[in-house]
């Protein structure tokens, strides 16, 4: 059981390459934190620094109540599951799982008992005498997890542990790891580039890009209140649509957004944060599911009407994915499956203006981020 904190952590490589920039993260005890980002964003380096496999160039990493900068991996009370599983090919499954305990001079009966117990829990008891090469991908993955469990570490580290599994196994393994986290009640730090894994497993998610932490929050907040353009585009599939836009104040004081030749009024209830940008160019973002077919409008939303040409139609059964075009700008909508859209025809659409995102062109920050955070905060306290 341990909390983790990164305090102004930097990783520089020779030749002034910066892999991780001034990272500050607090992970609470028993939390499941997911580090997510595109490849090369520094998430694996961050995990490896936490594991002690990479040196820290600057700053401090705490596990529990001690700084571990100069503590060897074996003394950090951590266990790690690797992308390739990294099972020792020359040892049996039992020996693979027992190896760490043996090195720590654990008594033989204790090793025997712990390995058998872990194997039982993971459903790999019948494989204990096999060698890794005789196992399937899913079995190897379980052995790798088993090797980590028997050590009973304070922190579990996982580096893309599911990316070598096929799609079906990956879904199973996802819930298996989530359950494992609930059962063990240990702090987990999990690295992935897959946003679905991140969203489904993490209690909180840290989104990284180019060595910098972009945002750290719960899956819900990340999705509904992304702090900047990168997070908005990275989380969600199909990803958020972005338009070049301009904030304008119409007669009567109403604030609107001008996009692809259309004027979209912003509901007064959420217009406050945009007042500072009247007359300025901004980036307007809207998620595909917030673009509806006018004929199938859900209740309780503030719609703004717009028309567009239909380029591609993907009927999914439960929903319809439309690729649309208006004045040279293409975007995606997820509409009701009954939508009667025909390729090449014009379709009447409604943007749900309650769920819009607006970003500053230069800083790429969301204009409404703080406003929404405070509002959510108030809702919680009230």
């Amino acid at each position: 059981m341990a909390s983790i904190s990164f305090k102004h952590v930097w990783k520089r490589y020779a030749g002034n390459t910066v892999a991780v920039k001034d990272l500050n993260i607090e992970v609470a005890d028993k939390e499941f934190l997911v580090l997510v980002g595109p490849s090369g964003c520094g998430k694996s380096t961050t995990l490896r620094m936490l594991a002690g496999l990479e040196e820290i160039s600057d700053g401090e990493i705490w596990i529990g109540d001690r700084v571990v900068n100069n503590v060897a991996p074996k003394d950090r009370d951590i266990a790690m599951v690797f992308q390739s599983y990294a099972l020792y090919p020359h040892m049996t499954v039992f020996d693979n799982m027992a190896f760490g305990l043996r090195l720590r001079k654990t008594p033989k009966q204790v090793i025997e008992q712990r390995v058998r117990e872990a194997a039982e829990n993971l459903g790999i008891s019948h494989l204990l005498d096999r060698r890794p090469r005789q196992l399937s991908g899913g079995q190897r993955q379980r052995v790798a997890v088993g090797r980590a469990i028997v050590r009973d570490p304070a922190v579990f580290l996982m580096d893309e542990p599911l990316s070598n599994l096929d799609a079906k196994l990956r879904v199973e393994a996802r819930s298996f790891i989530s359950k494992l986290h609930q059962r063990l009640g240990t702090t987990f730090v999990y690295v992935t580039h897959d946003q679905v894994e991140a969203m489904t497993m993490g209690t909180r998610i840290a989104v990284m890009s180019a060595g910098e932490l972009q945002q750290i929050d719960t899956p819900f907040n990340l999705y509904h209140n992304p702090r900047n353009l990168f997070v908005a585009g990275f989380i969600g599939s199909p990803s958020m649509n972005f338009f070049d836009a301009k904030v304008v104040q119409q007669d009567g004081g109403r604030i609107s957004l001008e996009i692809v030749g259309h004027m979209l009024p912003i509901p007064a209830a959420i217009a406050e944060p945009f007042k500072s940008h009247i007359g300025k160019r901004v980036t307007f973002g809207i998620r595909p599911e917030d673009i509806h077919d006018q004929s199938y409008l859900p209740g309780g939303i503030t719609p703004s009407m717009i028309e567009a040409n239909v380029d591609v139609v993907e009927q999914m059964g439960n929903e319809m994915i439309l690729y649309l075009e208006e004045n040279g700008k293409t975007f995606v909508a997820r509409t009701d499956p009954r939508t009667s859209a025909a390729i090449g025809h014009r379709l009447g659409l409604a943007f749900n203006m309650d769920n819009i995102h607006v970003f500053d062109v230069d800083t790429e920050l969301s204009l409404a981020y703080e406003y929404k955070q405070n509002k959510a905060q108030k809702a919680v306290t009230a």
């Binding site: 060897a72 074996k74 790690m80 990294a86 020359h90 190896f99």
Partner: protein
């Protein structure tokens, strides 16, 4: 109709060019085998002849097999003493070469430090010089260390000349071992040496086997170095044993042949038993985990 006739025929007989190519391969292999086996058979048969017979009919079968050439040698104390000496030299050379080149290869493959490649290249320069070229300096060095007439005087130079090649082979093998295994070992509780001992060495067994085999054969066959360093004939290895049949006035070639045949028997047996290690050890490096 013709189609139905030719089809099964075709299936049974591979095209002519394949047959010719295959026949060519066999011819080349048979020729090579004969070139290698010829001298060996000549030596084994020669060991059953008298010196006179060897001069008059070197390649034919012996008129009357003279088994006493072989039995005489096997019955003599000298043979067994020299066999023991050979084994001491082989064992010493192999142990020292394997242990030192494994450690060296580990340093050159898994540890990062400034100038690593330069130093490693310097090591591999040793591959350019066979021990034969360096006899004079080696002899002087051995004498300076007062190792004349000691087994170490033979073993140490053999080790020195064996290290570059062995290190090169092992380094390639060590490098092929995925770095995630190393990370896993560190997290499991290994230090650098623990990783070397518990993970790297067991995984490099094929390469280690290949080096053991190669060094065994090289040191078993070494002739010139013991001749130079060992003046006391009680320390001579088997290779020098041939000289006992060279008298002042003539050489008993029949016995020399018998002796040579006996000398190569252990080396050949050893090679047959261990050749699979050489093949996997030198070509391998594939590790599926």
């Amino acid at each position: 109709m013709s189609a139905s006739m030719t089809k099964p025929f075709n299936r049974r007989m591979p095209p002519l060019r394949f047959v010719i190519a295959r026949a060519g391969q066999y011819l080349v292999l048979i020729a090579l085998a004969l070139i290698i086996l010829g001298p060996i058979v000549t030596a084994v048969l020669g060991g059953l002849k008298t010196t006179g017979e060897l001069y008059s009919e070197p390649f034919g079968l012996p008129a009357i097999p003279r088994w006493e050439n072989y039995t005489g040698i096997i019955a003599s104390d000298t043979f067994w003493r020299q066999l023991g000496n050979s084994l001491i030299i082989v064992f010493g050379t192999v142990t020292l070469t394997v242990s030192s080149s494994a450690l060296l290869a580990f340093v050159f493959s898994r540890l990062v430090f400034r100038g690593r490649e330069l130093i490693f290249n310097f090591f591999t320069l040793g591959l350019l010089f066979p021990v034969t070229i360096a006899f004079l300096p080696v002899f002087i060095q051995v004498r300076q260390f007062s190792l004349i007439d000691s087994y170490f005087g033979v073993i140490l130079p053999l080790v020195a000349f064996g290290i570059p090649g062995s290190t090169l082979i092992l380094r390639g093998f060590f490098r092929a071992i995925p770095s995630e295994l190393e990370d896993a070992a560190y997290i499991d509780g290994c230090g650098t040496l623990g990783f070397f001992w518990y993970v790297l060495l067991p995984l490099a067994r094929p390469a280690l086997g290949a080096i053991v085999v190669l060094q065994t054969i090289v040191s078993w066959n070494e002739y010139f170095l013991p001749l130079l360093v060992l003046t006391d004939d009680s320390k001579w290895p088997l290779t020098l044993g041939i000289m006992q049949f060279q008298g002042q006035f003539g050489t008993d070639w029949g016995r020399v042949m018998a002796f040579v045949s006996l000398l190569i028997v252990p080396a050949v047996l050893f090679y047959i038993v261990t050749q699979r290690y050489i093949v996997t050890g030198l070509t391998g490096g594939e590790l599926k985990g």
